[in-house]
């Protein structure tokens, strides 16, 4: 008998999905109630995960499902971000008239898929989780079905994502063919010798994964999808799938392919450099904030990959730290975006921010903090994120990667500064509404405080993350 206690959080979320679906169908006008219940069940799932033993290390279902410290930490991160996304976007989906019962349920589905991805230790389980999250995301992207941009983004995401899933699956089959197993640990044992088929398999899998975290050159979908989707979905896109995809990256690179480091290291370095530089350069000309943050997140994923490319435990830990801080910064940025509302209409162009600081000093201060932090200027949290990455990279004597990365920060600083310039230096425009719901305010306050005060006690997160063992 398997020890089902370990997957209680997943079971709980599955049950809640079914329950809420039935509940929503039978009870009229219950979309808001379902939304709130979803948030509550996420909180419950969070407590269930936290209750797991921190140092746990066990596998379920024929060693295909891993419950370890990495999975536990990433799931906490995932669900925590999920809760904050739900809290901050509740008002938005009401006003944008996309408040239907399916919306929160789809979010739960995709979170469940991501949890499966995070814990997967087997190619098939991994693929199952990936498809569960992707299918939910396709629908979410086109959720505002009367909006041309939203449907376009959904379709685009679907087509490109299906293509990448196909590549991924092809890679998986190659790996299976050459190692005679789908289990990650077994793959490691069976692939001592390098064969061409194996290398192809690795490349295909990495391409598929790079697509999921929108690393250059597989980033094309990201700007359109970020811009076209409803903002509440964009923030979801910007945060949660990245956590899951990065975890899978770590698992693939550090369990089955660990011995084949020579094969994948150059690929990851290339993806990393290309993403950092391209993301920084392409964002300069953008006019839409959501599109800009898409390019910015491409660039940020480049830094996270730089940590992974080192092939050391320290590198992985720096990547995890990076993604944690990245989540908070983006949460702060999107919370600000949700506050740009006037007469039931949301504004998302950079020009709309003009002179914001005169009418909304606190809001613009939060944006200032978030943007400087995204640019990686000390003493804000974003600097430390980059700092850990470069410490790990330079430790491996990869000076070229470090210098390119740092030069990319300077380029990126330009477009963040441009937004700050518009907020602080330009003439003011009409006021935005200053009343916001509590969840949104709380999210903004908490994330801004985290960014600002991180430098006081930077060891906190690092200590937690350093306890995660990868192998």
């Amino acid at each position: 008998m398997e020890n089902l206690q370990l997957i209680i959080p997943e079971l709980f979320i599955s049950i809640m999905i079914m329950f809420l679906l039935i509940f929503g169908v039978f009870k009229k006008n219950s979309s808001q109630l379902v939304y709130n219940l979803t948030t509550v069940s996420l909180v419950a799932a969070l407590t269930l995960i936290i209750n797991l033993d921190a140092q746990i290390q066990s596998s379920l279902f024929n060693n295909s499902y891993n419950i370890d410290s990495l999975a536990r930490f990433m799931k906490i991160l995932l669900i925590l971000s999920g809760i904050f996304v739900m809290l901050s976007s509740s008002k938005y989906i009401q006003i944008s008239k996309i408040s239907k019962i399916e919306y929160p349920i789809l979010i739960l589905c995709s979170i469940l898929g991501m949890m499966v991805m995070i814990s997967s230790n087997d190619l098939i389980v991994f693929y199952m989780g990936l498809e569960l999250q992707s299918l939910a995301l396709y629908v979410l992207a086109s959720f505002n079905r009367d909006n041309l941009l939203s449907t376009e983004s959904g379709l685009k995401y679907f087509v490109l994502s299906a293509l990448s899933s196909g590549l991924l699956l092809y890679g998986c089959s190659l790996i299976y063919g050459f190692s005679e197993t789908t289990n990650f640990n077994q793959i490691m044992v069976n692939t001592k010798e390098i064969e061409y088929g194996l290398t192809f398999g690795i490349v295909f899998i990495l391409v598929g994964l790079a697509f999921k975290i929108s690393a250059v050159p597989f980033h094309m979908w990201a700007p359109d999808v970020y811009q076209g989707s409803p903002t509440s979905v964009t923030v979801f896109f910007a945060l949660l799938p990245k956590i899951a995809a990065l975890t899978v990256f770590i698992r693939f690179l550090y369990i089955p392919f660990y011995e084949l480091g020579d094969q994948w290291q150059m690929i990851i370095i290339f993806l990393s450099i290309a993403s950092m530089v391209f993301g920084a350069v392409a964002a300069i000309g953008q006019k839409n904030l959501k599109r800009l943050i898409a390019y910015s997140s491409i660039s940020h994923m480049g830094y996270a990959l730089a940590g992974l490319s080192t092939g050391t435990t320290q590198g992985v830990q720096s990547s995890i730290t990076y993604i944690t801080i990245y989540l908070v910064m983006n949460l702060a940025f999107f919370s600000c975006l949700f506050m740009l509302k006037r007469n039931d209409e949301y504004y998302e162009n950079i020009d709309d921010l003009s002179g914001l600081s005169k009418n909304h000093p606190l809001l613009s201060l939060s944006l200032l903090v978030a943007l400087f932090s995204l640019a990686g200027i000390p003493p804000l949290a974003g600097f430390f994120a980059k700092f850990y990455i470069f410490v790990a990279v330079i430790n491996e004597k990869m000076y070229f990667l470090a210098i390119v990365g740092l030069l990319a920060t300077v380029i990126a600083a330009f477009y963040y500064l441009r937004i700050i310039k518009i907020i602080y230096f330009d003439p003011e425009k009409e006021k935005f509404e200053s009343k916001h719901n509590l969840g949104l305010k709380f999210t903004l306050l908490a994330s801004t405080f985290f960014i600002l005060a991180y430098f006081i006690y930077p060891s906190g997160i690092v200590d937690i993350i350093s306890q995660i063992n990868i192998n």
């Binding site: 000093p361 400087f372 200027i377 000390p378 003493p379 600097f383 700092f387 470069f390 410490v391 330079i394 430790n395 000076y399 470090a402 210098i403 740092l406 030069l407 920060t409 300077v410 600083a413 330009f414 500064l417 700050i420 310039k421 602080y424 230096f425 430098f455 930077p458 060891s459 690092v462 200590d463």
Partner: protein
């Protein structure tokens, strides 16, 4: 005594900023936030004065050292002062209240935000001068960009956006290489603690590259030719208080960095790169002096003169003689006072006529006699007349240079003449001559707060010009120690060691 006096110095302005931020005030109550800022900065000044008195000038070691675990097992928050850094802290805490006083006249809107920016900036500046860990130093060094960017951008002149961007990106670009170097040092030696690094020494084969990485950051910040072009733009567009802080303190961070890190950590490389620094310094001294001669904008002229003066500073530091380094430090302090005063003087007339073009003025002596007097003192201070603090610095630097290289010293001396030329010509065109312009006739002489701020600066310039002993005393032991660390025998031993 266990009272964390340095941390209090660093934190006090931030606490003041938070206080001003959280106490909501309407327009009429702006004055109150100004008094809060003034009180805080003055308290900080007296605290640092106390520090200077308590400080034992005869000891080589760093004093008032505080150490706390920060990033566990990696970086410790470590601050401390020696004879060199304590002077820069004093300079910072002395100039900041003066800026706060002048704020009234120059800042028309969002006074509260401006005060907060200045206070936060003071925190970072003090932090730079007393941090004894490379990462902590970098943190403070870079963080100063944020408030300065906002000061130039929000309260600046017409081309403020361009200047603010140029300032920010130039400095950031220079600094990122330093970050790579800092992390490399950590992996080479296992620590970023400056005191430990002084003892351990860094393997000679790494020093050249590391030195260059640090140099790229400090050269931009100093600024040295050819990366000085951000400075005139930033100065011209920044509000008076911003220019003052920039010229008086932010530029000194780089000079301080050269002494503390380039000389202290990489003695072999410093020796190796002496010709490079000499060349760049001489070009800065001669070329920017000539450029300054041709300026029509007062602030631009003073900005270029800053580049020339900082050329003397870098020249003096890399003579690696007792006189040269002492002269550089003295020159930095003196330039901090004089350039701050000159920018304030420009601010005075700019507030009245709203132009900085030199040819719009003329004949001010007959309508603004009080102004003419103080301006004369500062002009003489800037060109290094004996009896002002400017003389001592330049003289010591040249003395150090003559010891090492007569050609270099001779060329640098030419710069002194050029300096006298552009400063006196500026003075002549503004103060003397005929009163032609109608609006100039309507200008009123110094107001009381302007008299206070300007005379506060006149006093130390003349005092230290006649009696430099207190400053020299304070740096003597530390500089001697620095020279000792750069001793040729020791360097050779290190070079052979690898």
């Amino acid at each position: 005594m266990n009272f964390p006096i340095l941390s209090s110095l660093i934190l006090l302005p931030t606490i003041g900023a938070l206080f001003i931020f959280f106490v909501r005030s309407s327009n009429s109550q702006y004055q109150s936030s100004k008094y809060v800022a003034l009180f805080i900065t003055l308290a900080n000044f007296f605290l640092s004065l106390y520090l200077w008195i308590v400080f034992d000038k005869s000891i080589v070691d760093f004093q008032f050292v505080e150490e706390r675990e920060w990033i566990s097992g990696f970086v410790n928050y470590k601050v401390g002062v020696d004879g060199i850094s304590i002077l820069f802290i004093l300079l910072t805490t002395f100039i900041t209240p003066i800026c706060v006083i002048t704020v009234n006249a120059t800042i028309k809107n969002r006074l509260k935000d401006f005060l907060i920016a200045i206070l936060i900036l003071e925190t970072f500046m003090i932090g730079v001068f007393c941090s004894l860990d490379l990462v902590v130093f970098y943190l403070f060094f870079e963080a100063g960009l944020i408030p300065m960017f906002l000061i130039i951008g929000i309260w600046g002149g017409e081309r403020r956006v361009y200047s603010a961007f140029k300032f920010f990106l130039y400095t950031l670009l220079g600094s990122v290489l330093m970050l790579v170097a800092i992390i490399s040092i950590y992996w080479i030696t296992g620590t970023t603690d400056v005191i430990k690094l002084y003892e351990l020494g860094i393997d000679a084969k790494y020093q050249n590259l590391l030195w260059l990485a640090f140099f790229s950051s400090f050269a931009v910040k100093t600024p040295m030719w050819p990366v000085h072009t951000w400075l005139p733009d930033a100065h011209v567009e920044a509000p008076t208080a911003g220019s003052v802080l920039l010229a008086a303190i932010l530029l000194k961070m780089a000079g301080y960095g050269f002494i503390r890190f380039s000389l202290g950590l990489f003695p072999v490389a410093s020796l190796y790169f002496v010709p490079l620094v000499y060349t760049l310094s001489l070009i800065a001294i001669i070329y920017t002096s000539l450029v300054a001669l041709m300026q029509e904008d007062m602030k631009k002229l003073i900005a270029y003169s800053s580049v020339a003066h900082m050329g003397f500073v870098t020249l003096g530091i890399f003579t690696m003689t007792q006189q040269g380094i002492e002269g550089s430090i003295f020159q930095m302090i003196s330039h901090g006072l004089v350039s701050a005063a000159l920018f304030l003087c420009v601010g005075v007339v700019y507030d009245r006529l709203h132009t900085r073009l030199i040819n719009r003025y003329g004949g001010l002596v007959s309508i603004m006699p009080k102004y003419a007097i103080v301006f004369m003192v500062f002009t003489l201070g800037a060109l290094g007349l004996p009896g002002t603090s400017g003389f001592i610095g330049e003289f010591l630097v040249l003395m150090g240079a003559f010891k090492k290289n007569i050609l270099v010293a001779t060329i640098a001396s030419l710069g002194v003449i050029l300096g006298a030329a552009y400063m006196l010509w500026l003075y002549k065109r503004i103060i003397f001559g005929k009163l032609i312009n109608e609006d100039v006739k309507k200008m009123v002489d110094l107001k009381s707060f302007e008299i206070v701020t300007l005379w506060l600066l006149v006093l130390p310039i003349i005092f230290f010009g006649f009696y430099p002993e207190p400053l020299i005393n304070s740096i003597e032991v530390s500089v001697a120690n620095m020279i000792d660390m750069n001793d040729l025998d020791k360097i050779n031993k290190l070079a052979l060691g690898d």
